[in-house]
Symmetry: C2
């Protein structure tokens, strides 16, 4: 039973679609069909939003580890994380049943639901989302236990992320906005059905999902300068199979660098702006069935 | 006769395609066919590049007015502008014959050559570019005299900008990079032909271009908050005709706002991230023949 649901935008201050959805629902009200749910609306990082940046000092969405929350780190975002944890959490003993945190990406990931656990609840959620929004992608990041993640959404008893793209930082695209709104509404419809015990789990067919693998870095020279860019054949091909031998990078002197994995993989977060300074080119995933 | 040509990237620190082109030509050399030209390569704003931001304190590409250069403004970019003006200029009595400044945009403007004068030289250049790169767009910003612009490229005796998109800030896309490289090479090929007197002006057919009109703002409510986003029919439709009655905005309560101009216009810089804080939705243009 969900007694309290927190819907969050602006965890990253330049990801406009979640921010705009929260602002619009604050102004115009939450859609009528969800009034039976106890939903609170939040803008997480006002300072980053006002500066139109991802974060002011540190990535807010990495501050919510138990160690981080207990540390003496006094960066703006570390302090903000403790305030948010007091409000939505406290993490590990939370007063919020479900935290839905809304993001967008410069990668062409479409509407992606990121779940951090593949237990019965989240499998039902994933199947429900996929049934009611077939164009959605499901990404599973369960490489470590829920509470070990540093994500804001882990302040709730349960937490998920909505990740939609491609959208440049600081820009609002109607297509991305509508996908974001649709996915938020489908997740809330699931919550409603869950509360009303009207989900017939058996009627939800198994669904396709992607399990996070590893980050793949750009090739660098001895001075740490990139020697290649994402190959045009890989650009915008998020969640499409990258088969061994297929090009993934094009070097600046005109050669192709190919995927040398043993198996096909499913790249995502391809050329995400926020990972540019980290020299992360994309993340891999394996295709699974939930 | 061009004795000195300056090719500049990184005037905006998060516009990666020009930065990467300059870095690659610094590392691998300028293409052999242009060795007869006296080309210098420049990264304009290293501090902004290192911070992966457009600018640190003020937009560098607005600092090059004669008044601005003579002022006591001591922002990082105002100071940098004076250094660059001493190196490439001085504006109005320049030692550099031609400054080519490379930018990119989140708008789907393809490869756009921005010229600030429609005199015989620039008309020849525009026609040459259009002939050798038919997919290029020519944008004319001649609403005021060359020296009254605040752009970095006005430090040269002549100056133009390359503007390519769509590319998110802080991201390098191969397609945008290649368009940028092609346009830079076509402009340099024109310079070579100009120096060698091998341009037969009569053989260059008149070309289509767009003359800048005005900026169109997002609709705002009484609190200065946006009430609408770019309509999906206008998004990514840079330089396509927007006819009176066609939708340009979609309000957050679901209505369309249509273009009410007397004539069709040619929007560009649609949903450009850098203009987001200024609430500029797009710029208009009229179609002309050069």
């Amino acid at each position: 039973m969900f007694n309290s649901i927190a819907l969050v935008g602006g965890t990253h201050g330049n990801e406009t679609s979640g921010i705009q959805l929260i602002k619009n629902w604050q102004k115009h009200g939450i859609p009528e069909q969800f009034q039976a749910l106890n939903i609170s609306l939040h803008i997480a990082n006002h300072a980053a939003l006002n500066a139109n940046v991802r974060f002011v000092e540190e990535d807010l969405n990495r501050q919510f580890t138990l160690n981080g929350l207990a540390s003496s780190n006094s960066s703006k975002e570390a302090l903000l994380a403790r305030t948010i944890n007091a409000q939505l959490g406290p993490k590990g003993a939370s007063n919020t049943d479900f935290v839905i945190d809304i993001h967008n990406t410069t990668s062409e990931m479409g509407a992606t639901l990121i779940i951090l656990e593949a237990d019965e609840f989240h499998v039902q959620l994933a199947r429900y989302v996929k049934k009611h929004m077939p164009e959605a992608n499901i990404l599973v990041e369960d490489e470590k236990p829920f509470l070990e993640h540093g994500y804001l959404c882990t302040t709730g008893k349960r937490g998920v992320m909505i990740e939609v793209g491609g959208q440049p930082q600081g820009v609002l695209r109607e297509d991305v906005y509508l996908l974001t709104q649709t996915m938020a509404e489908v997740i809330l419809a699931f919550c409603l059905a869950y509360n009303q015990n009207t989900i017939e789990a058996d009627s939800l067919p198994p669904c396709e999902a992607f399990r996070l693998g590893e980050n793949i870095s750009f090739p660098l020279d001895e001075n740490g300068q990139r020697t290649a860019m994402i190959h045009h054949a890989l650009q915008d091909a998020d969640f499409e199979p990258l088969v061994p031998g297929m090009p993934m990078f094009r070097t600046f002197d005109g050669r192709d660098i190919t995927w040398q994995g043993e198996h096909e993989t499913y790249p995502h977060f391809i050329n995400e702006a926020a990972y540019f300074k980290l020299d992360v080119a994309f993340a891999t995933a394996e295709k699974i069935t939930l």
